[in-house]
């Protein structure tokens, strides 16, 4: 059975090879502001991939700036994204999405207005499992057009996907072939980066290394900018190497109100307020106005929710859980 869903974000590996060939491998500075990074690297019609997972390590400051700049007409992967794609949905920024998990803030509940947006028929969805969507990134990261996998078979998730069945030439086994996913742009929030884009992520890596390899343009938002010596002194720290990266943005507390492991915990209070606000159009509009359009910087936004005091509380909470930064 071939999936009936529309194939999004796919490219021929030979075309991607030509693209990657042209991409600069020079060690050159790529540091810029949020505004410039959003303006230059997110274009209407782009297929967007966001790093992180659920309520963890989300490039929230970047997403705010995208909403502020009213970037629209996007495609994106809702890869166990909730906070991130929900924010994009809040701004009605995408029309087509590969979805493996969306809408709900996991254990905390779901924002009604976002569910409604998904039910409205305004968004085209192609269905996947988390594993399948992760493997789609991995296929691209390996320079392939597909990977064989053993899940999704026999279900409606398979039916509404864009996968195809194939047979193993060695065993005769049936596999599902999932097509590579080559996003136009990826945004990944990390613990530390140098000005060239070398990036360090601490804790779970989720699919971010594969996303960085798969994507045509990669924007890194980082809690801190560090000297290149941080990597040269201990090159196992480099989770994403510079030659994959197009832009580096300093973005302290950039994952707030989501969790940044080893740095600050998620802000349950604020997330509950968001769920509440995202109940209806009016609440949503008010939330976006107050928290994004009326804020000049991401710090302005954090200040609306307790500022320094709140941040210190989330840092303390994180230190209780993970015993402080032990890089």
């Amino acid at each position: 059975m071939d999936g009936v869903g529309k194939l999004l974000g796919f490219e021929h590996p030979d075309d991607m090879r030509e693209f990657f060939r042209k991409k600069s491998k020079k060690l050159e500075p790529k540091l810029m502001g949020l505004g410039e990074a959003v303006d230059r690297f997110i274009q209407e019609g782009d297929y967007l991939a966001l790093g992180g997972f659920g309520l963890v390590r989300i490039p929230m400051a970047f997403i705010h700036e995208m909403i502020r700049q009213k970037k629209g007409g996007l495609k994106c992967a809702a890869f166990t994204s909730n906070l991130d794609t929900d924010m994009l949905a809040a701004g009605k920024m995408f029309k087509e999405t590969d979805v493996s998990y969306a809408i709900a803030f996991e254990a905390l509940g779901f924002p009604k207005i976002i569910r409604k947006y998904f039910e409205s028929g305004e968004i085209y969805t192609t269905e996947w499992s988390n594993g399948a969507l992760g493997w789609r990134y991995k296929a691209a990261a390996m320079g392939l057009s597909f990977l064989p996998i053993r899940s999704m078979l026999g279900t409606d998730t398979q039916k509404y996907s864009a996968a195809k069945e194939i047979t193993c030439p060695f065993t005769g086994m049936k596999y599902l072939a999932v097509p590579a996913l080559y996003p136009d742009a990826a945004v990944i929030h990390v613990h530390a980066a140098d000005i060239y884009g070398n990036s360090y992520i601490k804790g779970v890596l989720i699919a971010d290394i594969d996303i960085a390899k798969a994507s045509k343009k990669v924007v890194i938002t980082a809690e801190r900018i560090v000297p290149t010596e941080f990597f040269r002194n201990n090159p196992e720290r480099t989770k994403i190497p510079f030659y994959l990266v197009d832009a580096v943005v300093k973005s302290p507390f950039g994952s707030y109100p989501a969790n940044m492991p080893y740095e600050y915990f998620l802000d349950v209070e604020h997330l509950r307020e968001m769920l509440e606000a995202f109940s209806d159009e009016e609440g949503l509009k008010r939330y976006l106005d107050e928290n994004i359009f009326k804020c000049e910087t991401f710090f302005d936004f954090i200040n609306l929710h307790g500022g320094m005091k709140k941040i210190q509380y989330l840092i303390d909470k994180e230190n209780e859980i993970l015993g402080g930064y032990n890089g």
Partner: protein, 260 residues
């Protein structure tokens, strides 16, 4: 003194915690699965290997995670790795159990967590598979925890998000899913259900105290088989309730909710 009254959530978690052998491995999500796995580690299966699909392996959970990749899942973990690693651990056959919920379940244990109504014009849109399809496709045994109701237990399932036994015996293998896998238990507020070896149909294994076979059948939209070895479920023990309430979920993040 432990209050021996318990709510449905507490009951389901305690019953679920008894499933695991020591040394088994489990892929868990937030909520009930996590609570059951933590309780099991403290009482029945100290070597239960807990993994999260965001990439954490064998943490010593300080509290209930709110997100599958949040910092609590990394607390004193033995490895922090990637989603691909977690999924390939499943694909290699290293995960014994997974734990799922769902809006609908049919007599073959197929689950819907995607849409009610037509896929392209849904009445209700749910989150979708997440890791559920991968877990149920590739772990050895799927455990479902969900309240018993006619609306949920139905053969008119709108969308098969996650495979049970699909259309019955042999169907998983025919679809290409790994050999000898499938749903193992469905734990509800009324009963523990299993699956008949031959027909792969859902079957009552034990009924919880205070409920009858009829109660269970009346709250199911299809005919249930009944095990030859039907039992009454042992109620939560004093020890289970004490540890669940004091150590596993002291803030009642899970056990304070209504089962749904």
């Amino acid at each position: 003194m432990v209050d021996m009254e318990y709510n449905e959530m507490e009951l389901m978690i305690c019953v679920a915690s008894r499933v695991f052998e020591d040394g088994a491995s489990v892929s868990v999500g937030t909520g009930v699965p996590c609570a059951a796995a933590m309780l099991s580690q403290k009482l029945y299966a100290p070597n239960l290997l807990i993994t999260f699909e965001a990439g954490s392996v064998a943490p010593i959970l300080p509290s209930m995670p709110l997100s599958v990749g949040d910092s609590t899942t990394m607390s004193r973990a033995l490895q922090t790795t990637s989603t691909a690693d977690a999924m390939e651990m499943l694909q290699r056959g290293l995960i014994d159990y997974c734990f799922l919920g769902g809006a609908q379940i049919d007599m073959y244990g197929n689950l819907n967590s995607t849409v009610i109504g037509d896929y392209r014009k849904p009445k209700v849109r749910f989150p979708g598979s997440g890791g559920a399809n991968d877990f149920a496709s590739m772990s050895w045994r799927t455990i479902v925890v969900t309240p018993q109701s006619k609306r949920r237990f139905t053969n008119s399932i709108d969308f098969i998000t996650t495979p049970g036994y699909l259309t019955g015996p042999g169907a998983r293998e025919k679809a290409g899913l790994p050999r000898n896998t499938g749903p193992y238990r469905v734990i509800t507020n009324m009963a523990v259900l299993g699956f008949d070896d031959k027909t792969k149909r859902m079957m009552i294994e034990s009924v919880h105290p205070g409920y009858t076979i009829e109660d269970v059948q009346d709250n199911t939209g299809f005919e249930l088989l009944v095990s030859e070895h039907l039992k009454e479920t042992a109620p939560p023990t004093k020890e289970e309730l004490k540890i669940l309430r004091e150590e596993v979920d002291p803030f009642r993040a899970v056990i304070g909710k209504k089962a749904q």
